[in-house]
């Protein structure tokens, strides 16, 4: 399976859920400093569940398609369910092989969403190491 499968390119060309919310509970930006990929996620939280979300971003196809695909999974999910998402879950969602050199691109969506939730709880953001492990940090 190719990294640039049609599904990835389709999400890259036609991103889902891109935009802004009227009154988000929390907005949070994360960047992948190595290449400049950036994502901002806005969450509307109700009873600890994601009632709505929107996002904006720039960067490579993997980071942007990743957010577009994850966006479709998050509505109605509780904080705990999102907190339990692991990098393997994102790789399954993307449906393409992710090599170590692209792991940070692929995980920027999860990193941003998890840290948006932490921000909503008034906690410090977690590190890249926590989100992806050492082999993808730089």
């Amino acid at each position: 399976m190719d990294l640039y499968a049609e599904n990835i390119l389709d999400h890259y060309r036609n991103p889902r859920g891109k935009g802004a919310l009227q009154q988000p509970t929390v907005a949070h930006e994360e960047v992948n400093v190595a290449c400049g990929d950036a994502l901002t996620v806005e969450l509307k939280l109700e009873k600890n569940q994601v009632a709505d979300l929107a996002w904006t971003g720039t960067g490579c196809a993997i980071s942007q398609a990743g957010m577009s695909i994850l966006n479709e999974e998050l509505r109605g999910k509780s904080s705990d369910e999102i907190e339990a998402l692991k990098r393997e879950d994102i790789i399954v969602l993307l449906g393409v092989p992710i090599s170590p050199r692209r792991l940070k691109c692929a995980m920027l969506c999860l990193h941003t969403v998890k840290n948006a939730l932490r921000k909503a709880r008034g906690e410090e953001p977690q590190s890249w190491l926590m989100t992806v492990g050492l082999e993808a940090t730089d």
Binding site: Y12, A34, C35, G36, D37, G59, C60, A61, I62, R101
Partner: protein
């Protein structure tokens, strides 16, 4: 006599891999067999800790280590042997200056750096600012990456610039700032000059006496030598007045219960056991390079970059960064491709074995100045061929087609 590239390539074991087109020498150069052999032979026959012990092996290691210093002195045409300090890499050499020489700066002092700089010639000065309160001021560039000398003059006219820290060759745009002019103007204003020669050292001759620079730093691994070894050159009288950098063994004259006195230069700046095999590898790399003339090497790399310019400018959607004139470029050419992020592009090229670098190349202020987030860089070395450059064109066209 022109270089015989097939024969040169055969001296690089890694280039025997036929699946690869290595166009990332600006990140690090591949190693000729002579370098690998020199290091291996040292470990197998003469390995000991230099400057320690009276036994025969320690003496052999000391002689080998100091011979490496002599080869660096010759490489840079430094006047005195003790002006050559071994470090871990170019970054550490610049940090050494920032921590040691820089520690004597005052609040009213300023360090001028250019927008072309690699982060390793920016961050140590910000750290120096944090510790001393000295200012960091920017020398501006035009859209092609030329240093704006007026901007330098304006900074120097204030009279508080103590150091101009500038690259000798941009690792992104391939432009060479007019060093002699800059050094002359800086000295006239009472400022010293540090040259970051990380890129320059592998692509042209360096003569520190002719340049009259005060500091110069480079890394072994970018001139076909090993990683883990770098060099700081500094004028003797400046080095002699500098306090030690790291503390430990070898950098001391005497340690008492109430303190220590530092060793003479250059050992004062070489605390602890040094990367001896790497220094010997660096010597081998310098001597390996000396079998060719700089004239031939420069002519060869210019041909490669000319071809790269023509290949890249023939592709729809490609925008070249840096100087319009090919003759102003050395070592590398960076570009953006409309509709494809550099990481996606280099990932796709990488599957065809084409190794190029994507990102901001540790030059975020430069990329911000150019109004882009990231770029793709094609860089060349002595071993590259026109045929390798030609592979890049169709590969980029294919990548564009997939993303269209």
């Amino acid at each position: 006599m022109a270089l015989t590239i097939p024969a040169i390539r055969r001296q690089f074991p890694l280039l025997a891999r036929e699946d690869l087109t290595y166009l990332d020498t600006a990140a690090t150069a591949q190693k000729p067999q002579a370098v690998l052999d020199a290091m291996r032979e040292f470990y197998e026959r003469s390995y000991a800790n230099p400057h320690r012990g009276m036994h025969i092996l320690a003496e052999e290691a000391t002689v080998a280590f100091e011979d490496a210093r002599k080869s660096v002195q010759r490489f840079l045409n430094a006047e005195h042997l003790e002006e050559i300090v071994f470090t871990k890499n170019c970054t550490e050499a610049i940090n050494l200056v920032a921590r040691s020489w820089g520690s004597q700066l005052k609040k009213k002092d300023a360090i001028a750096v250019s927008l072309l700089e690699h982060h390793s010639n920016i961050v140590p000065w910000f750290q120096c600012r944090e510790q001393t309160g000295a200012q960091v001021a920017w020398i501006e560039i035009d859209d092609e990456g030329h240093i704006l000398l007026d901007s330098l003059d304006r900074l120097l006219a204030k009279g508080d610039v103590k150091l101009v820290a500038i690259t000798a060759l941009s690792n992104v745009l391939g432009v060479r700032p007019p060093l002699e002019e800059i050094i002359c103007r800086a000295h006239a204003a009472g400022a010293l000059v540090l040259l970051d020669a990380a890129q320059a050292a592998g692509h042209g001759p360096i003569d520190v006496q002719k340049l009259d620079c005060d500091f110069l730093a480079f890394s072994g691994h970018k001139i076909y030598g090993p990683t883990g070894i770098g060099v700081l050159y500094a004028k003797r009288e400046i080095l002699e007045a500098m306090p030690p950098f790291l503390g430990g063994g070898k950098m001391i004259r005497e340690v008492r219960e109430d303190g220590f006195s530092p060793a003479d230069i250059p050992l004062r700046f070489e605390a602890g056991t040094q990367p001896v095999a790497e220094a010997i590898g660096l010597r081998a790399a310098i001597e390996w390079g000396e079998q060719f003339t700089w004239k031939d090497r420069i002519a060869h790399e210019r041909e490669l970059l000319k071809r790269a310019t023509s290949v890249l400018s023939g592709i729809d959607g490609v925008s070249l960064l840096g100087p319009r004139s090919v003759d102003e470029r050395s070592s590398c050419i960076s570009f953006t491709v409309e509709g494809i992020h550099p990481h996606d592009l280099t990932d796709i090229l990488g599957r065809k074995g084409i190794c190029m670098r994507a990102g901001h190349h540790c030059t975020q202020p430069l990329h911000r100045r150019l109004g882009i987030i990231a770029s793709t860089r094609l860089s060349v070395g002595i071993y590259n061929t026109l045929e390798e450059i030609d592979r890049v064109g169709p590969a980029i066209t294919d990548a564009r087609a997939r993303f269209a």
